[in-house]
Assembly symmetry: C2
Homo-oligomer: 435 residues x 2
């Protein structure tokens, strides 16, 4: 007998899991569509050269590689690799299909990615990413629209207590320069700064020292990063003007009042060139982040195209919403409205007929497929399906021209005329929903 | 500069492609939900032992295998493999989660699978499958419900000219026995019979001969298979009773009048044990098929559980619907309702504000992010997005307290008051949609 576990670090998504994800993804899609973003999907695997070298040395190690087929299988050579994120495939698509895409290409993409990370609590080898990107404009309108859409999504999902942290890659560079941190140490400094949430100010100071940053420069940089207003530190700097424009424009969208300029926000990815942003919820941390990256697409296209994107942490959002019980009950309860049960062979055909009528009345109807000689089995089944009502057809009902209807919560049983049973049962189901 | 093609045999799904697929999948999901089926999703890869040996020798060759990670990578050993169909993962899930699933588990699953087939026109290495299966009952109600759901889906998609071919594995066996085909030759005979559509009656007769089936037996079998009514050939056979029950019960569902008993229907897969079925459209051929397989789940569970399933040919349906222009225009046209354009920097903030108001009025609104010094660029963009209207804000409009609205089809330009602009523009957009 074969083993039955899913592969290490992956999950089976049972019906309630799929429904929770679809609830969130449905809101995400609806909002992004309303902001003019269009859906894109790319293949699960890419030619291996498309991915190798795009995610740094560590990333290369974590890419799942696919064996060449046929006679090459024995060679152990890999020619394909599983999608590692949604950004590199997007860059490839923009280069490949540029003639078919609008000058400003706004796309959203919700698909799984695969990383050979060591599995841990909340860290999987297969997980969904949920990205939007706008390709083709340097205007701060792009950042403002992205922040507006993200804020609207979180509000519609039921989050009330989120803020958007905003910073700029050039602000970080300018502050490090002003503090006297050597240019060659900027990368190290940002990696350390990115951990501020986790290790605190003292922890960052220690990391600065460990990475050979002079104590005075490090201390100065830290005081800059934790100051409230980067504008007074860098008067007239174009990055500050850019941030001001973004804040002003985002004020016209659902992101209004949510944005906090935060000079300590670093974001790990090295490809950002402009504004960087992160959505955080009190007591939970980041639910997503993004920024402007004007040079990445050039890797495939041969010339740079401005771009700005945001990735919502779909998996994290689902975990938090589950913990906080933010899903509407209808998402995970009551997959079926009515289970139709027949008590004798002679009622079997009419049971299917009734189910067809109930479906025509927009109910989700299920037929218990066996003759219910003992009543327990269909009752247990109906309860496992979360059904509200059971419609019962047997010899008695046939003789009287009726259908018995049992409310599975109150256990009350009533009868409705067989002719016109579907609308009558639909009315009962709706009454149950409203209570 | 990196290559930009997707991997061989795979496709990028641009926005219109995703929308077409989502239109079909949305109807499929809605109907299956109404029939009491629940969504399931399984990981893209499985432990390699889960898949190897389940699809025959040819299948083993076509499975994409994933290299072990880390130090093992050099060994060329594979420990994971990409999903090859949705049935084996379902059998694994039923065994793994049996305690959590209802006694009758009805699931649908729409996910991609991967096969290292030689790519050809209409044959891809990554393609979507769309399966329903009901696990846990031998009742013909199950077959009838599945056929009812499939018929309703095809009708809702706009197919009028489809029939459901129905046969039974045991009918095939009994007819071959009666004709005098040796039991050891049954497998070969069914493989040949399965090609009837492609190679015709004479072609099948030739294949019979080539596979060593005695001429008289082969001719007799062929005359049975092409006879109209298997019931007169096998009076009182339990498979005939089963088919009669399915036809009678399916007559109570949207499959009514669609079913043709067809003793020549063989279906390739060897794991079927009972009824087998196929949906065919005149001039196009099969759009999907399925049947009862009561022994497959035992591979993972250690004891048999009755099961019946149907797989809709999602990719084929999309191709046919595209060729026949069966998609509603709204699916692929007009991804955006309004593009908001600003003519000077001073109108930029108000452009975002107007877009926010338009989205609040349920319109899909986009902001052209640059100052439109030349009008051509935003016009070209709006047309590439399929927008119906353009809302224009500039110095003139600001002075008058107005928004200019341009109908991009008629090129008429009107003005609406800035206060209350959103509902006025929404009304114009709706008028455009109705025309």
């Amino acid at each position: 007998m074969a083993a039955t576990q899913p592969a290490r670090g992956t999950r089976d998504f049972l019906p309630d899991d799929v429904r929770r994800r679809e609830h969130v993804a449905g809101i995400v899609r609806a909002v992004y569509e309303r902001y003019g973003f269009e859906p894109l999907e790319t293949p699960a695997f890419e030619n291996i050269e498309t991915l190798l070298g795009k995610y740094g040395e560590e990333g290369n190690q974590l890419i799942f590689k696919i064996l060449k087929r046929g006679e090459h299988e024995k060679s152990g050579e890999a020619d394909l690799a599983l999608r590692y994120d949604l950004t590199v495939p997007l860059a490839r698509v923009v280069a490949e299909h540029q003639g078919k895409l609008p000058a400003l290409f706004k796309r959203y993409q919700i698909q799984p990615v695969w990383r050979a990370d060591r599995p841990a609590r909340g860290r999987f080898r297969e997980f969904y990413q949920c990205d939007i990107d706008a390709i083709g404009s340097t205007s701060p309108v792009v950042e403002a629209e992205i922040l507006g859409a993200v804020a609207e999504i979180l509000e519609r999902l039921g989050f009330r207590d989120f803020v958007i942290r905003l910073n700029h890659r050039q602000v970080l560079t300018a502050l490090l320069d002003t503090a006297g941190v050597l240019p060659a140490q900027h990368g190290d400094a940002l990696v350390a700064l990115d951990k501020m949430d986790k290790i605190g100010r003292e922890g960052v100071a220690k990391e600065f020292a460990a990475r050979g940053i002079a104590e005075a420069a490090g201390a100065k940089a830290l005081s800059y990063f934790t100051s409230a207003d980067p504008g007074t530190l860098l008067p007239g700097h174009q990055a500050i003007d850019n941030l001001s424009a973004i804040v002003q424009l985002a004020g016209m969208t659902p992101a209004a009042g949510r944005i906090r300029l935060d000079p300590s926000l670093a974001r790990g990815l090295s490809y950002y060139t402009g504004a960087i942003m992160e959505v955080a919820v009190e007591g939970i941390g980041s639910l997503g982040g993004g920024g402007r990256y004007d040079n990445l697409i050039g890797m495939f296209l041969g010339r740079d195209i401005p771009a700005c994107g945001f990735s919502l942490g779909l998996e994290r959002i689902i975990v938090v919403m589950t913990e906080r019980e933010m899903f509407p009950a209808a998402v995970t309860h009551g997959a079926v409205d009515v289970v139709v049960t027949f008590l004798d062979e002679g009622s079997r055909g009419d049971a299917l007929k009734l189910a067809t009528e109930l479906r025509g009345a927009a109910l989700r109807a299920d037929v218990f497929p066996e003759v219910a000689r003992k009543f327990e089995k269909p009752l247990k089944y109906a309860s496992a399906r979360g059904a509200r009502l059971m419609a019962i057809l047997g010899e008695n009902e046939r003789a009287k021209g009726e259908v018995s209807v049992r409310d599975l919560t109150t256990r009350e049983q009533t009868a409705v005329r067989r002719a016109g049973a579907a609308p009558a049962i639909a009315a009962l189901a709706r009454r149950r929903t409203e209570n």
